[in-house]
Amino acid sequence: MRQVIARTVVASLVALSLMAPPALAALDPDELLEDPALEERARGLSTGLRCMVCQNQSIDDSNAELARDLRVLVRERILAGDTDEEVIDYVVSRYGEFVLLQPRFNLRNAALWASPVLLILGGGAFVFFAARNRRRQEEDRLSEEEDRRLKELLEKQG
């Protein structure tokens, strides 16, 4: 049932648009886990999961019903003894990768993750070689003194 709701919700995301009231500060005290260490893990996971009815808010920041359900779900899984990865996998299996604010490292996202590294290396290499070429061209050129002497020689010949 929840899955159906979630899908409907995602489908109507566009229609909801910004006119939906902003989610007010979320996370009620009665949701908190008693063990501070577990609660900290839950908060950490929550900030990386997207509230799917809001725009670009994590479930930790949102007070939408769906965000609340997800927060409770994350805490249930943690209490059930899941590791962080297992919780994430579980949530993704139900809601899809859209729920992850940090895209996964996989082939489809390769271009996304690789681009900063490739750009800085490529850009650096470009700057380096462009500068070296410029210098070489400049070194190959005759200096003013050489130009003058060449002219003199040519004039003498002619």
Partner: protein
């Protein structure tokens, strides 16, 4: 009838902008001075007409003329006058009209102050401006007419989106547009240079002040938007890497790069082709930002328009200008000659490094923002690229740049001495290291990373100060001479130092809040207390309050310091705008030096208590104060005698005061 005058004025302005585009362009091509001279008066008249059109719309808002669809949709007779006026641009149609007015104003400024420019350059610049204006006016007239009427006129309007009924968000769009559209001048200059196939000294001296001015406004606009999000969205975040925020951040990043490369071009006439490319890219990203926000392709808080026909229209404008200008660049850039040579270790070299990192950071943010759209278009999958991605990629790219900042101004042009620069920065480095150690040992809850981050921000204070001290010759000459030298430094030297210190302040604020913030939360009954960072907050109860067009529940709090002494009160509320049944939060803020207590009200729990969340935000105000200092720095550079806006002197510029280049 008045409203129709506004509409006619806009149509007339559109026709004029077509003249402004064609006649001077042809004139410059065939060398006809009378045709070239048509540009300036049409630009000024175009501005007068668009301004009239905008004034008419504002008037309709002021008198609440609900026979105008746009006013009916976005205003309300009970709305405070301030928001009636600002509501004029708090919607799609009105904000596009504002965009046009600002564009026309910049065109008129070029026409007015550009009399010293070479005639063909001026004609070509105004022609390109005319083309941009014509495209957007056509867009407004064809798809987003703000003057459409409604018959019969309703008695009452539907009110402005309550989120926009806020002073911060009221002046955020005009500032942002001044920035976006200000870059159009640089763009027009770049296109004109490519059309002519040459760049001369006037070009460089003209483009830099425009870049500075546009950058100054854009910085203000982004900062304002960020502060608004901080106090209005209810949980005290200041930057969300939201696509719409990114849309304004992209032109800022690449504009910052252009600001630096334009220095090299002006002083050493190197990096010419690159500066032209940056000018094109900056405005292209401004257009992209306009497209992303206006088309509603990324649905988010700011996107008040979700009509596909508009999206397609703006996309067409976007493709035309970006494609056209890049095409022009590819075709003509080889005509522009490369400028002076320099060694990698030099002022120029450091500015190239700056450009390398800023461009990569821009590209990273751009790819991250558009990647979900691309993935969805290609595979149909929906993915999110959120704050964790941007933090993991942007921050590592920007840290090396920040570390390098103090070195740049200490290196000489052409060939610098890195070892000497390191020696001169040694004291600054040692002082920053001390800060790291002190923070690490003495500040509760500070991790090594937090200490290093704070050290980095102090490096950005000490480094530029070192530069000022060295340039005034402190320690080498008598204090009096040093003081005189200090006062006599070119204003752009102060501009550089202030802007860099401003960056340091913002970095300090961000590091402090992200690493040392304290959050507390509890369900409170009246009389109960909650503690945060040495302060005790007592909940005094909820009182209803009736505003002009909203009702609210005001939660009152009194807070005490560690000794139990009463320090002050703070009020946090939940508002309901009655016309749209739209709830908002008004955070309670109490400022302590540069830090703030941030109080937000949550829901009522079953036992009747109210959920209260309190944050201690250490040094949070520095985030925005830093941007103010950056803007002041930009203002100093603008006031530098060699590049006052719009007044490039025809006399040959006096030889630069040597102070900037003297190795102290």
């Amino acid at each position: 009838m008045t409203v129709e005058i506004g509409h006619f004025a806009l149509v007339l302005a559109f026709a004029l902008s077509l003249v402004q585009f064609t006649v001077p362009l042809v004139g410059a091509r065939i060398g006809d001075h009378r045709m070239m001279a048509v540009g300036a008066p049409t630009a000024v008249a175009g501005f007068a007409l668009t301004a009239l059109s905008f004034a008419v719309l504002t008037y309709a808002y002021i008198v609440s003329d609900f026979s105008v669809v746009n006013v009916w949709e976005n205003s309300h007779s009970q709305k405070p006058m301030l928001y009636k006026i600002t509501g004029t641009w708090g919607n799609h149609e009105g904000s596009m009209l504002l965009w046009i007015v600002i564009l026309a104003a910049f065109g008129a400024l070029v026409a007015w102050f550009g009399r010293n420019l070479p005639a063909t350059l001026r004609a070509n610049v105004l022609a390109v401006q005319g083309l941009i204006g014509a495209s957007f006016m056509l867009f407004i007239l064809a798809t987003s007419n703000p003057f459409a009427r409604l018959d019969p006129a309703p008695m009452e309007g539907r009110d402005l989106n309550p989120l926009l009924q806020d002073i911060g968000l009221a002046i955020h769009p005009p500032l942002l547009y001044l920035g976006y559209v200000g870059f159009s001048i640089c763009f027009s200059f770049a296109c004109a240079a490519l059309i002519e196939g040459r760049i001369d000294a006037a070009w460089a001296r003209w483009v830099r002040p425009w870049t500075l001015a546009a950058w100054l406004f854009l910085t203000g606009g982004i900062s304002m938007g960020s502060y608004w999000a901080y106090y209005e969205l209810g949980w005290g975040g200041f930057w969300f890497w939201d696509p719409v925020e990114n849309a304004s951040f992209l032109p800022w990043l690449v504009g910052t790069a252009m600001l630096h490369s334009a220095i090299v071009m002006e002083k050493r006439s190197a990096l010419r082709i690159w500066t032209v490319l940056l000018a094109i890219l900056t405005f292209s990203l401004s257009l992209l930002g306009t497209f992303l926000v206006r088309s509603g392709v990324l649905t988010s808080v700011h996107a008040f328009a979700t009509d596909p026909t508009r999206g397609v229209f703006i996309l067409a404008i976007l493709i035309f200008f970006i494609g056209g200008s890049l095409g022009l660049f590819a075709w003509r850039a080889n005509r522009l000659t490369a400028g002076g040579l320099f060694h990698p270790i030099s002022r120029e070299g450091s500015l190239v490094l700056n450009n390398l990192f800023l461009s990569t950071a821009t590209a990273t943010v751009l790819i991250g923002t558009l990647y979900p759209l691309m993935v969805e278009a290609v595979t149909g999958d929906k993915i999110s690229v959120g704050p964790p991605f941007f933090n993991m990629t942007f921050i590592p790219l920007i840290i090396p740049l920040l570390i390098a900042v103090p070195f740049g101004p200490l290196l000489a042009w052409k060939r610098g001495d890195l070892y000497a620069a390191c020696q001169r920065l040694f004291a600054a480095f040692a002082a920053s290291l001390m800060v790291v150690v002190v923070v690490w040992f003495f500040v509760d809850g500070a991790s090594v990373l937090a200490a290093l981050g704070i050290g980095l921000s102090f490096w950005l204070f000490f480094g530029p100060l070192t530069d000022l001290v060295l340039k005034s010759g402190v320690g080498k000459v008598s204090p009096r001479v040093a003081l005189a030298r200090f006062a006599g430094l070119p204003r752009s030297v102060f501009g550089t130092a202030l802007a860099h210190i401003g960056v340091g302040m913002t970095v300090l604020g961000i590091v402090a809040v992200s690493s040392l913030e304290v959050e507390r939360m509890a369900g409170l009954q009246p009389g109960e207390t909650i503690e945060v960072s040495g302060y005790t907050l007592r909940f005094d109860g909820i009182q209803p309050f009736q505003g002009p067009n909203f009702t609210e529940d005001q939660g009152h709090f009194t807070y005490f310091d560690a000794t139990g002494r009463e320090v002050g009160t703070v009020m946090s509320s939940k508002r309901l705008y009655t016309a749209r049944q739209f709830p908002t939060t008004e955070a309670g803020l109490s400022t302590h030096g540069l830090s703030q207590l941030y109080v937000a009200l949550g829901d009522q729990l079953p036992d009747g208590s109210i959920v209260v969340r309190v944050w201690w935000k250490p040094l949070v105000l520095l985030i925005w104060l830093g941007t103010v200092v950056m803007m002041i720095g930009a203002g100093f550079s603008l006031a530098d005698r060699r590049l006052r806006v719009g007044a490039p002197s025809q006399r040959k510029a006096k030889p630069e005061r040597p102070a900037a280049e003297v190795p102290a």
